[in-house]
Symmetry: C2
């Protein structure tokens, strides 16, 4: 069970997000065996996902293979598997593949979009929580522009080119700003014959202010900037239903649209309910100040998936929280297996930042706030520093510089995805296709 | 019908491959309206597709948005649509969207994989003719390594890690070489616990030599280089059937494998049979020396889709042929609409080249042949020059330099594709998923 009994202790880390990666890095070289498990073979840099969905970055630029991250750490291994449950008695992780035994488990499975049970929302909205969703949204938006360019019916064009973002938090604000810039910039050049005064980006916020966690002055700055970029911000706008071609509001109004991007809420991952651990608000697992699950001291839960009950109360669902918790969970896992006393988690708040587009951002750092170019430069610097892997950093920098100097977007591709892995031509050939050359975008 | 009657003549170019893009570039500024139609919104640089499938390049690095290529050409427009047929009487292209009228049509729809009716081949093989197929193959190979790392059954591991490439032409040789380098290099480091002596790359060639169009000395060089990279080359190996987990040979032998990449043949696109134009060998459309279809003088056919009947006989299915024919078709379309005499096509053979991997390639240029580092440098230079768009060129150069100096691969991601465009989480939520957190890689 521990290093003293001849066998090295084994820490399994479920999830290769910020929490899991930072925990694994911290554990590496500590004399324990570390196994990282994720259903994807790559870490996704989620803070920049909205830029993939706005055709600003390549998908590969915000994704890094997990095996690449730990290549030089001989004590850290990886298994690609999806977590289905935990056999706590036998200390085994149940996956879609073989069972995985652990001495100590760190759960870091992140969060999912929360649609709050609004009818039609789950079915008709686009999420912005995974690389596949980011690529899907980019393809969708590009396809709508192509479709709009082939119709001359103004009301249909208006419906096709109305883009609704639900949720005025950082992700919603960042995506609405990026989308408005994409449309007024590169797409205006790509579609010279399309009347882009018909294109709208509408940001819906149920509360009375966007960017609620920021100081008043920064919220006003952001509201003003969004307006100047052409984003319509609707405050106090509560969505009552989402249909395939419209979003309906509580006040009875409706917007004809094919695109509702839902950034209005997150919750614990669905699997959290199947683990036999106490869950709290939003399906997140209760942890005390040592980050151990209330129900099982051999299980640590960190990041978005955890509901922290220590001093200071519930923590925001942000990457820095996950990273700091990842590091402490690593320390505590080691202490637990060595029979030592565990440490308590204290969140060091480094501030929050959000970008509204080209040379416009808001940043708070303790009591200090910035806006404009300085905030944007700080935002850019921090995100570049955080990006894992030198090559990604370089490629992202090139893309950003290009955007900045040439007002261009690199990646306006519509790459359809294949339902099956085999040759699509093959499938169609076998079905003796009656017409066309198949494939279809 | 022509520029003299008040209305400008309209040339429609179907297909945004090398032929179509080169034709449109040549026509731009000629006083005619040009419309490029493709089912994808991007041009795919097919000569480097095998590098996407070998996790060496990002998909976005070999794709360029068509609208971006013609952004500064006001007389050249683009429509994203799939060609279904031609109404020759009314001079209209039938698509999955609105009909498209033309005065003159240039068909450049490329080619498709030819499985020669071998049982199971179309269903069970991977093609290497489109960006989606390249991404799908990359995902598949990475997934097999992940699967192999989770089993301890040697015979299953051997089956999972046996990769068969059918076809010893340039594409097959290039892909087999790249795959062997991927496995012995980056994947060996990614999977330190996996016994990679079990991994095999097998190249099957039905004839008695690989790289048939190259001189004898170059074929021997390539064969030797492939062997040293660990590729098993089977000459005279005729595939009789492809099953989901094996490939069966005419001589009764079989290989247990999950991966058969089919590069053994190409044919005209399936839609060619629905156009009412005379087709020849491999479903390609007969054209005379002016590149006009035998059946309709207002239709030009170029590139892989055309069966050339001029002096010199049938031409190879290569990018330079398509580019040169694209340029002449543009000239002839303009002359046709102006009532002038058309010109005859003459192919200028610039030679052929194929790369076998790191610093190893074969190149012929007229009577001169190169191998090794010189050929590889020439190959690299020519392909970089051909790549459309400065940004792509830069990104590809960075990737190659990285590979060369660090023996690394950038993009070993498994990015699963979504069958539908909407939020996958949404769909699963609506279906009240019974277990797990869905998604699944």
């Amino acid at each position: 069970m521990d290093a003293h009994s001849g066998r090295r202790g084994r820490v399994v880390i479920a999830g290769a997000g910020f929490g899991g990666i930072w925990a694994a890095r911290k554990l590496s070289g500590s004399g324990l065996d570390v196994l990282v498990v994720d259903k994807r073979n790559f870490h996704t840099f989620l803070p920049l996902l909205y830029q993939v969905a706005a055709a600003e970055l390549e998908p590969g630029q915000i994704a890094y293979p997990v095996r690449g991250i730990f290549r030089r750490k001989r004590d850290t291994r990886f298994a690609m598997a999806e977590i289905r449950g935990i056999d706590r008695q036998r200390r085994r992780l149940i996956t879609d593949g073989p069972e995985i035994p652990y001495d100590c488990l760190i759960l870091s499975l992140g969060s999912e979009t929360n649609f709050f049970g609004i009818p039609g929302a789950a079915r008709n909205c686009f999420g912005l929580k995974s690389l596949e969703e980011g690529i899907g949204l980019r393809n969708h938006i590009m396809s709508l522009f192509e479709e709009a360019s082939q119709t001359s019916d103004p009301s249909r064009q208006r419906e096709l080119l109305t883009f609704v973002v639900a949720g005025g938090g950082p992700t919603g604000v960042e995506y609405a700003g990026a989308l408005a810039e994409l449309i007024r910039g590169p797409l205006a050049e790509d579609f010279p014959l399309l009347n882009l005064s018909q294109a709208r980006v509408v940001l819906l916020e149920a509360g009375q202010a966007i960017l609620a966690p920021f100081p008043q002055a920064l919220r006003e700055y952001a509201l003003n900037k969004l307006g100047r970029k052409g984003v319509e911000v609707h405050l106090g706008a509560q969505v009552s239903r989402v249909a395939p071609e419209a979003v309906l509001m509580e006040d009875g109004s409706a917007l004809a649209t094919r695109t509702v991007v839902w950034t209005a809420g997150v919750r614990g991952p669905a699997v959290a309910a199947n683990l036999g651990l106490d869950t709290g608000p939003g399906g997140r697992i209760f942890v005390g100040e040592t980050l151990q699950s209330r129900s099982d001291p051999s299980i640590f839960v960190i990041g978005d998936m955890a509901h922290f009950e220590g001093p200071g109360g519930a923590l925001p669902m942000l990457a820095p929280v996950a990273m700091q918790q990842g590091k402490l969970a690593a320390v505590n896992a080691k202490r637990l297996l060595a029979g030592k006393k565990l440490k308590a988690f204290r969140y060091f708040d480094k501030g929050v930042m959000a970008t509204i587009g080209r040379a416009a951002a808001v940043t708070t750092f303790g009591k200090v706030s910035f806006t404009g170019y300085t905030a944007w430069a700080a935002w850019l610097f921090v995100h570049l520093l955080m990006l894992i892997g030198f090559r990604n950093r370089l490629a992202v920098l090139i893309n950003w510089a290009w955007d900045y100097f040439f007002f261009e977007r690199a990646v306006r591709l519509i790459v359809p995805c294949m339902a099956d892995r085999r040759s699509s031509a093959g499938f169609e050939r076998d079905a003796a296709r009656p017409e066309g050359d198949g494939g279809g975008i």
